[in-house]
């Protein structure tokens, strides 16, 4: 089975997470699969041409003409395309940042830029693994399911659920705006576990109820505007959709 790992406009933190967190298992992956494209790990097969792959993992948002061209080539040559991380699944910070920005110039010699988009705005995406960064465990789980012809799953619980399971003190109870109730879990409540509020970097949870959440904030006398600002930060295009439904 042929795998390929690509990056578009991003910090490459998701690909790096796979390298560092899979540790020696990366070597097993290398032995089991044909990894034909992974520019941080190997000289790609076929040079700069996008190789044929059974599963392509794509990190990053679509920002430049080069991103767009590459992504179309990836789609054309891959049977199954997985969005790897929040840039690819929702556009991440760049989605909002590239819309509010005033620029004199959008075109250089070879690079032209557009408003950032998740990859699903340009091509059909078969599965999304969210997270800033993506979780190596979720990646492994999804890969195992895919090669066994089982549909991969996304966490169907919120960050709140994981946070409470861990026994953390609730930040909302402490009077801090935290998006835990709205956010898709799977991260192990990494941020609230060190006292930092959740910014919903994995996008909305399946049961996200924006209206109820905003009412809770109101009851607690917490800043709703701040919650909306936080929601826009990572959740990108999905925040836009959620807010359209909720307000």
């Amino acid at each position: 089975m042929r795998l390929a790992f690509y990056s578009l406009t991003s910090c490459e933190g998701c690909l790096t997470t796979l390298i560092t967190n899979l540790g020696p298992n990366l070597e097993s992956l290398w032995n089991i699969f044909d990894i034909d494209y992974f520019k941080l790990v190997r000289e790609p097969v076929g040079g700069s041409k996008v190789p044929k792959a059974d599963i392509a993992f794509v990190e990053g948002a679509v920002v430049t003409n080069l991103d767009r061209k590459k992504l179309l080539e990836i789609r054309e040559n891959s049977s199954f395309v997985v969005a790897l991380g929040t840039c690819a699944s929702s556009g991440n910070i760049a989605f909002t940042a590239s819309r509010g920005v005033k620029l004199k110039n959008k075109k250089l010699r070879d690079v032209e830029i557009f408003e950032a988009e998740p990859i699903s705005s340009v091509v059909t995406v078969d599965f999304e693994l969210s997270g800033c960064p993506v979780s190596a465990e979720e990646f492994t789980d999804a890969l195992l399911r895919l090669i066994n012809n089982i549909e991969p799953i996304q966490p169907d619980y919120s960050v709140c659920y994981e946070c409470r399971t861990k026994g953390n003190d609730c930040l909302l109870e402490k009077g801090r705006v935290c998006l835990g109730p709205l956010a898709m879990g799977g991260c192990g409540a990494a941020c609230p576990s060190v006292g930092s509020p959740c910014y919903s970097c994995r996008g909305p949870a399946t049961e996200a109820d924006l209206e109820a959440y905003l009412k809770t904030l109101e009851k607690k006398g917490l800043d709703k505007k701040r919650a909306v600002l936080m929601l826009h930060m990572f959740t990108g295009k999905k925040a836009k959709e959620l807010l359209k439904n909720g307000e």
């Binding site: 578009l8 490459e12 941080l40 040079g47 948002a61 060190v194 006292g195």
Partner: protein, 439 residues
Amino acid sequence: MANSKEEVILDSSELRFIEGHGKLLVKASGKDIVAEFHNLEGPRFLTKYLQGKPAEMAPLVASRICGLCFTAHSINSAEAIEKALGIKVSREVRDLRNVLYLANNLRSHMMHLLYLSIPPIKGLISVLRLSDKDVFKAGARLLAKSTELIEIWGGRSVHVPNVVVGGFGAPMKGKELLNSVNELEGLLPDAKKFVEYALDLELPELERYRLLAGLKKPGFYPVHSEDANMALTDGSVLNNQSYFDGLEEVTKEYSTSKHVYYRKSEITVGALSRIMLNRNYLSAGARKLAEEVEWSMNPFLIVKAQAVEVVHYIEELVKQSQELSDVMMEAHNPGVCSTMDADAGMACSFRGSKGKGISIAEAPRGTLCHSCEVEDGLIKDYKVYTPTAVNSKSIEADAVEMVKRFRPIGMEKLKFVLEDLVRSYDPCLSCAVSLDAFD
């Protein structure tokens, strides 16, 4: 601009084994050689996004600049905001950040040496094809251990949420962290094995004079230190503000990121610059290894400089963590999470505050500078001068020098050496595009 006699003699196409997207183009026009280091990475406008946002959001956003040196960005960011707001962090917070910075640099160096720079120098398609499996395993263990340290310390292995304005979000997991650091000490033989392999590499000779720059503090090998000054190899010493004032942004029509000059000229930052300026202050084991190398201004030596630093970072991590063990133990650690203890949340506490702040530190790839202006608790301006933006001019100048000297061996052969040259600098194009060319 466009010259009809210009001939492209090398087009690397998209470079492999570097972070972000870019390529090297070399052109000949008569006897003139011109090199262009193209950043093709798209901008994510993170620093522009910060304008108008609450000051305490800066470390979280700045972290996303880079998936390899995120901890450097979040620490520099927290410190720049603290300086702007006049927040004084405790000695413990400063020391703990310094040690976390060491872990960050160790991880980034291991990633660069193991996966990115060494395999192509050895002519391999991947480090996973290294014939000496023990070298790979030793390196992989170090990479995994440094990642684990960051995870315990920072709350996640990438984009750590525990670095916040004012200190740390939660107290250190003292015991876990110390155990992990002690295990790191056990990996010193692994580190020496790996580093000796790196120091044995045969590298091309390319000495070209330029000014090297880095933090300097007599008696120390500074990484993240509040009272270190910037030093240049011409003997000049500058405080943070004068260094910052000397930085100049230069737009190139072929690159999404600007280049950064210092007082209109080229400077080079990074591991080799640090070794040239401070190698007398390396830890004992690292100093011994450093003595084996004949150091010069050959950019290929950056790889060996990073290798020596790997041992230094490990030895320092062990030493400094043991000195800090009391602070790391939760029970003895009430002062660490200063501002975040306030139940009221932080936005309120910063309201009405204003000021400017600069934070300069030695990130893996060289001197990293974050600057900000805050007004009424909101960010008014935010700038990030990354090592790659600073080194871009040096990369181009070295490529020209290389072609001038070695063109007779043929561009086909030279192409690989030129790609190795670019990678030696450990460029990060995702970082560099923080100073985007689109404004």
